[in-house]
Symmetry: C2
Subunit: 365 residues, 2 copies
């Protein structure tokens, strides 16, 4: 009798343990997610990583990670001229090397993401800063945001037409005001006060964009909204050697967008989010879907509240949640452990990452 | 022996059931949260509520809930003239009765929240529409947003100075464009196209606001940012008899804000959020904190991902998360079961709710 009871008690405890391990998944998420229990162990691994430093001379110095994107969308593989593709690859590599230099010398993730995005704003290939697309009045209206994961402070500008580098203005909003987001003329006046360079709106225009605008003006605006051509938004996320996360995004938005349209890029939580407790995220795609679904913050929420890994959260949002709604785009993200995710549900996403021992990787399809 | 085993089996199942109920809390949230397990039972109560309808003639008809706010902040109880307090109470009651009439006759939650917010925009007492505060150039720059929990569609306008009812323009953005958020002149051109009434910017000014502006212009802008005087943003959330949730918010922002400053009100996920799967939320307070913390969406995320009740999620965000950062404000929310939350961490929040059998309640402190 007592042996049978002992067996039963063993069975009880086994069942209780099993339930305890899997309960956070089965109890909360409607979606099957068998690996979520593991995430907690990974999270505490951050401390382990630091503890291991003395054994590995480069562990602390080599902790940084940089991930960048030059926009999701684009034509199917093979349809872009090889020369053009090579140009994108070169500029993405150059952007990575700029950020790498900062992070390698112990610079902050904020410094790195700002410098990388600023470089991409200046590059006419991408839809941000010089080379940005035009609104339906033929003017480039620019948006940018930046967030510091160590303080949860953030800055952003939207609808600016004269600030040469919107990402620099976004950072100044964070540093010099009590506000998070400034728009239009107010943002431009502020940027001027801060000594940032203002330019004539024509500075942002390029022959390629003007040709694209003229072609599209003839067709329907509706057409463009459904269109899968490259959105070209740029962004960067980074983890620095101090363990601080940062995210930055900059864009001209959608070609032929209505004058005054604000997308996800300048919205903290939609297009950009960073939090040392979880991850740093920068999004690209048809912004309205990212806004309604609060995508950048949702990556963090799924990690914090459900215990999902970065990859699980990012993949679910891009490949399941957004895709089921018809929302095209992608995101780049890095978590506090240095894990990288770069999912996209479009034909292509210009992207790349760099890590101390792995060098840099650039991918399009 | 078999009786003892039977008893043990009963004990096992009791323990398993108990664990099942509480596991979603203990496994995921780091924060102690003993009541979250109960929420699941409440959630399934929605179906029960419908099933009970035949027994209770008014059950389906009487499902609707309306919650409104006229802004958080304000002086301590007793420091506002009684007459003024009475004016606020009367206008809040009137707003509730407008929404009640719509919901009682089977109108949608979208219709109700828009009508209520529109009424409050027209009332000079509140900081939205007529009676809104001024930016640092003495101009009322208005923000509004609305979200439909049944479709997750949303619309918003920001930085508009000539649209008489920004909430109506926000709704039109949702209905007539592929965009979510339009700013400034672009939003005004669109509103005009939609046949909405445009006014001279002076329409929004009132003697009381001009006096407040003049007084504050003499003091420091810094002072205002720390200030606990009423923010006055207005908002409404509702559950209708079809079980659809909606949220709407409208504001003039912060008195003496920088020209072009955008707060949380027009940001989906920060100041406004609605999702039939969880809740509808409208926020009020120092918007920057709500933006950085993505507060409106976070109420929903805590419910969906952690299984917290509406009350638990709303209280945690306002009384713990925001308060610990120095973020002043409050929110109103209703969940899909009709539960109401109206937490605030300021001296006061103008607020009220109405339910079919309880009539309407208006509170300030």
């Amino acid at each position: 009798m007592s042996i049978l009871n002992f067996q039963l008690i063993i069975i009880i405890f086994t069942m209780l343990l099993t339930l305890g391990v899997f309960s956070q998944d089965t109890a909360i998420s409607g979606i099957r997610h068998p690996e979520s229990g593991i995430q907690d162990q990974v999270s505490t691994g951050a401390v382990t990583g630091i503890a291991e430093a003395p054994q590995d001379q480069g562990a602390r110095i080599g902790r940084w990670v940089l991930v960048i994107h030059g926009g999701a969308g684009g034509p199917p593989q093979g349809s872009m001229p090889e020369e053009k593709e090579q140009q994108y690859r070169e500029k993405l590599s150059e952007a990575l090397s700029i950020g790498t230099a900062i992070l390698e010398r112990g610079g902050s993730s904020m410094e790195a993401v700002e410098a990388v995005v600023l470089f991409m704003e200046d590059c006419p290939l991408f839809n941000a800063g010089k080379g940005a697309v035009y609104n339906d009045e033929g003017v480039a209206e620019l948006d940018a945001s930046i967030m510091d994961g160590s303080t949860l402070m953030a800055g952003a500008v939207t609808g600016v037409t004269r600030i040469k580098n919107p990402i620099a203005a976004a950072h100044q909003v964070m540093l010099k005001t009590k506000h998070v987001l400034l728009m239009g003329e107010g943002a431009e006046l502020f940027a001027k006060e801060q000594g940032l360079e203002l330019v004539d709106p024509s500075y942002f225009q390029t022959p390629a964009r003007t040709e694209q605008f003229d072609r599209m003006k003839k067709s329907q605006r509706e057409q463009e909204m459904k269109d899968d051509r490259p959105k070209g938004t740029v962004g960067a996320v980074a983890l620095d050697n101090m363990g601080n996360l940062a995210a930055a995004t900059s864009t001209g938005g959608l070609m032929m967008k209505m004058k005054g349209r604000i997308g996800d890029t300048p919205i903290i939580g939609a297009g950009t989010y960073a939090n040392n407790a979880t991850c740093a995220v920068s999004c690209t795609g048809t912004g309205e879907y990212f806004m309604r679904n609060v995508i950048a913050y949702d990556v963090s929420a799924l990690m914090e509240y459900r215990g999902w890994s970065l990859e699980e959260a990012a993949n679910y949002l891009i490949h399941d949640k957004l895709k089921s709604q018809g929302g095209g785009g992608g995101l780049i993200a890095v978590d506090k452990e240095g894990n990288v995710a770069m999912p996209f549900n479009t034909n292509a996403m210009f992207r790349g990452y760099a890590k101390p021992k792995e060098g840099s990787v650039v991918e399009i399809y």
